[in-house]
């Protein structure tokens, strides 16, 4: 079986700096894979490479066996990869509903279909009550969920979540974890960047660890948690901080 997403020896340089160096891993259908690493490890850069904002300097990305590196972000989204942003990018002067409608149009044939799809997704992500508010005024937790809602509206097969939990209070955290699990149960594969260890350990099937742009470990949460390299990367950072 070909993996859903395959990252093959991907490197990305900015000038002389290697933000991502020779990283390879696979994500299989139906999994939740966590991508972790200290700040500046290259996680978001890797997302930008998968999503098409950056072309890899070396290496290739395959989605369902098809090479996608080099395509534009909107083409990659059409193929079935949606993403959220670490720094949330809501369409500010649009209502919550319109935000989701705009992305539902990718696969909806009529306005009616786009709106009804958007309303379903707002129910699913617990945002229905806020549908008529301008997204500018939403609190952070809701804006993070709006990012997820918008990504879901494009009906992806794979979802890239970039720190969807950062800055949430414990109540919001539980709600978001529930939503992620519901998304997985609906058959969408998830690759997630997260700093919140408890969250990542509890929801991931597998974890990939990056440090200084290189992959230093990969495995189940227990394996990764006991890996000396990983402990050093994190504790080393803590000790020098």
């Amino acid at each position: 079986m070909t993996p859903l997403l395959e990252i093959k020896k991907v490197s990305r340089f900015f000038g002389g700096l290697a933000a991502v160096m020779d990283v390879s891993f696979q994500v299989n259908q139906g999994e939740i894979v966590g991508l972790i690493g200290p700040n500046g490890a290259g996680k978001t850069t890797l997302f930008n490479v998968i999503n098409g904002f950056y072309k890899p300097s070396r290496g290739d990305v395959f989605f369902k066996g098809k090479r996608i590196s080099g395509l534009k972000p909107h083409q990659i989204c059409r193929l079935g990869i949606a993403r959220t942003f670490q720094v949330v990018k809501p369409l500010q002067r649009m209502t919550v509903l319109d935000n989701v409608v705009a992305s539902a149009y990718l696969r909806a044939k009529s306005k009616k279909e786009a709106v009804s799809k958007a309303i379903d997704i707002l129910h699913f992500t617990d945002l229905y009550e806020e549908r008529d508010k301008l997204s500018k005024g939403l609190p952070l937790g809701m804006r993070k969920r709006l990012e997820i809602a918008r990504a879901l509206a494009t009906e992806p097969e794979m979802l890239l979540l970039d720190e969807s939990f950062a800055g949430l209070n414990p109540a919001e955290l539980d709600r978001s974890i529930e939503i992620i699990k519901k998304i997985r149960d609906s058959g969408i594969t998830i690759l997630i960047i997260e700093h919140h260890m408890k969250v990542i350990m509890s929801i991931s099937d597998r974890i990939v660890v990056l440090n200084y742009g290189e992959k230093i470990a990969e495995g189940t949460p227990e394996e990764v948690g006991n890996n000396p390299l990983v402990i050093e990367a994190y504790l080393g950072e803590a000790a020098s901080a």
């Binding site: 534009k72 993403r83 990018k89």
Partner: protein, 316 residues
């Protein structure tokens, strides 16, 4: 009531010429409607899609010259310039879009500004084709009466209003606003931003070009200084939309009405008249500070301010 407002306004406008207005008043009203068309066109690209153009004279001028050149070179009626300008300006829009739309924000604005100027200088120097600064004179006026010109520009305005409204309420409208709010987010939501920005630009350009072709027929004389003017076309267009209300359906029409009246009024003042652009500049600054969403966009704010005044008046 609100649903019927457009029809009521249309009815009033359709009956307006029967009020027996003077030729001068008719002229002013025709200009207002023409500017409303250009404002609505600009608003589609600048207001909804967020691509602020400082070069709409490029489209107005090419529309105007399309009408002028077919009359002067081919000897056909300049009215054929209306349908033909749609074609010519659409092609121009695609080309200018291809060049300018790869730039964002202020860089796009500056590139369009340059485009307008490039076309003005080109029109001045391609003397065999455009008559250069001599301009083109339409020797036979179609009508002496203003009434037919009035109905033609009114029809163009209704067309523009309907086109803009239909576009904004469709998928295109959602995409335009998404691009305005965040181009990267829009792109990653599967929106082909380059394609949709080009669509917005071409529709906007074509409507502006129609107004230009009408202008040639109506005024009977064009030259590059007038129809490719940076301050008198490109900048005034932006002011009309800013004053009326960016990204509102009626803002450009309201802005056009106010700006045309204001221009006529200021010009008629002794001495101050020549400084009308200075006064426009001051007005723009005041609008940006106090009514950033324009008169239509900030209408509730104006109403509140007026209500407060009345309250103060009654209590004292």
């Amino acid at each position: 009531m609100k649903r019927y407002a457009p029809y009521i306004i249309l009815l009033v406008l359709a009956l307006l010429p029967f009020l027996g207005l003077s030729t001068y008043m008719m002229h002013i009203i025709i200009l207002m409607i023409m500017w409303a068309v250009i404002g609505m066109a600009w608003n589609l690209l600048g207001g909804y899609c967020g691509q602020v153009s400082f070069g709409h004279a490029a489209f107005f001028g090419v529309g105007a010259y399309t009408a002028g050149i077919i009359y002067f070179k081919l000897g056909v009626s300049a009215w054929w310039g209306l349908p033909l300008s749609v074609l010519v300006v659409a092609v121009e829009g695609v080309i200018i879009g291809f060049i300018c739309l790869r730039l964002r924000g202020p860089f796009f604005a500056l590139a369009t500004l340059a485009m307008g100027e490039v076309l003005r200088v080109t029109a001045e120097n391609l003397r065999d084709f455009t008559q250069g600064t001599l301009g083109i004179l339409i020797k036979e006026r179609t009508w002496v009466e203003k009434i037919w010109y009035y109905y033609i520009i009114l029809a163009i305005a209704v067309l523009s209003y309907v086109v803009v409204k239909k576009v904004i309420e469709s998928k295109l409208g959602y995409y335009f606003v998404a691009i305005r709010e965040d181009q990267d987010a829009a792109e990653s939501l599967g929106i082909n931003t380059t394609l949709y920005k080009t669509i917005a630009l071409v529709i906007s350009a074509v409507l502006t070009g129609l107004a230009g072709a009408f202008y040639t027929n109506y005024m009977g004389y064009i030259d590059p200084e007038v129809v490719f003017a940076l301050h008198d076309i490109s900048i005034i267009t932006i002011m009309i939309v800013m004053v009326g209300g960016v990204a509102t359906y009626w803002g450009p029409a309201v802005g056009a009405g106010i700006m045309v009246l204001l221009a006529e009024w200021i010009r008629s003042l002794p001495r101050i008249g020549t400084a009308h652009q200075t006064l426009f500049g001051i007005l723009l600054i005041l609008i940006i500070i106090f009514l950033p969403n324009g008169i239509v966009g900030d209408f509730s704010k104006i109403k509140r301010a007026l209500a407060m005044r009345r309250k103060l008046d009654t209590t004292t």
